[in-house]
Amino acid sequence: MQIRNGRMAAPPALDALDNSIIEILRTNGRATNQDIAQQLSVTAATVSARLQKMEDARAMRVVAVTDFAARGYNVIIAVGVRVQGRGIQEVGRDLAKFPEVLSVNAMNGGYDLELMVALHDFSEVQEFLYDHISGIEGVAQIDSGVAVDIVKYEFNVVPLGPT
């Protein structure tokens, strides 16, 4: 049985050159078009056009990933939310508006929504959980877990398409 996300859009077709460009950028996202072109024996203009095409198709994106610590986020919390009396996705979209909320997923499981929240320090936790999140209509219950160590965080496949 296949479990699927709601989005049915067909994946953009990538050829061998596109994939080679992606592989080089995966290890060094700052490689110049000229560097990539030399490694693959094509022109820099070709590399530039391929990157543009893939970004326009929302197939890939080169990102600068900053560490939580570099942004001053010292407290990371995983929050499970139970919703009552309102649509789950509607509540999720309201929660997604908080800049401190890094991710929102509508779930099938013990909770209706799962949030990953980043805060600067513990003094912000109470206000964020009990005023901001709990203030959203439809939030009936929250259950939070404070991250004491993040031993792995490697997502190189992400939703880039419209959600």
């Binding site: 290890t27 990157l51 999720g92 909320v101 799962e114 877990g145 993040i150």
Partner: protein
């Protein structure tokens, strides 16, 4: 509060790179009114300290539109660190977090098929010594994902310097 890891110039460089990771050092230098050498040195330092990392993220559709699955794990407290290490080594798992509160550990992975998830949970996770309970939740819809901020745990190749942040974590865990 610990001392800020980024000074105002670092912050402005990071802001430019967060907006466009492919912007040239020359263009950043021109916009911020400093030399290209300064920009190159600042970026190198941030990379060496594990504060910034440049990579490619590809869309879910190219991976067969997987679903994010979250596994909340309760375990014997004396085994939590060892379980975290074993989960970290599993290629199917993208994220492992030690938690205080709802679970002892939270693990996440991307799956295109439910058998694959079930095999991982029943054959590889529930069987780990010390694991008491695994609560699995499947994301049916992603409403937000911020790819630009993460915990940087992989160090650049050929770099022997230890990430200041991970070093702190290792001490805290010991």
């Amino acid at each position: 509060m610990s001392a800020p890891l980024l000074d105002p110039l670092d912050r402005r460089i990071v802001d430019k790179l967060s907006f466009d990771a492919r912007i040239s050092n020359r263009a950043i230098a021109a916009e911020l009114g400093v030399t290209e050498g300064t920009i190159r040195a600042r970026i190198k330092r941030l990379q060496n300290e594990g504060l910034i990392h440049f990579t490619v993220v590809t869309d879910f559709r190219l991976a067969g539109s997987p679903n994010l699955c979250m596994m909340g794990i309760n375990a014997d407290p004396s085994q939590v660190t060892a379980i975290a290490e074993q989960l970290r080594r599993m290629p199917e798992i993208n994220c492992v977090v030690l938690l205080l509160g709802r679970f002892n550990l939270l693990a996440m992975g991307l799956f295109t098929n439910i058998e694959q998830l079930n095999d991982l949970v029943s054959a590889k996770i529930r069987t780990l010594p010390g694991v008491q309970r695994v609560e699995t939740g499947i994301s049916v819809h992603n409403l937000k994902y911020e790819a630009g901020v993460a915990r940087i745990t992989q160090m650049p190749k050929g770099n022997s310097e230890i990430n200041a942040v991970s070093k702190k974590n290792v001490v805290a865990m010991a």
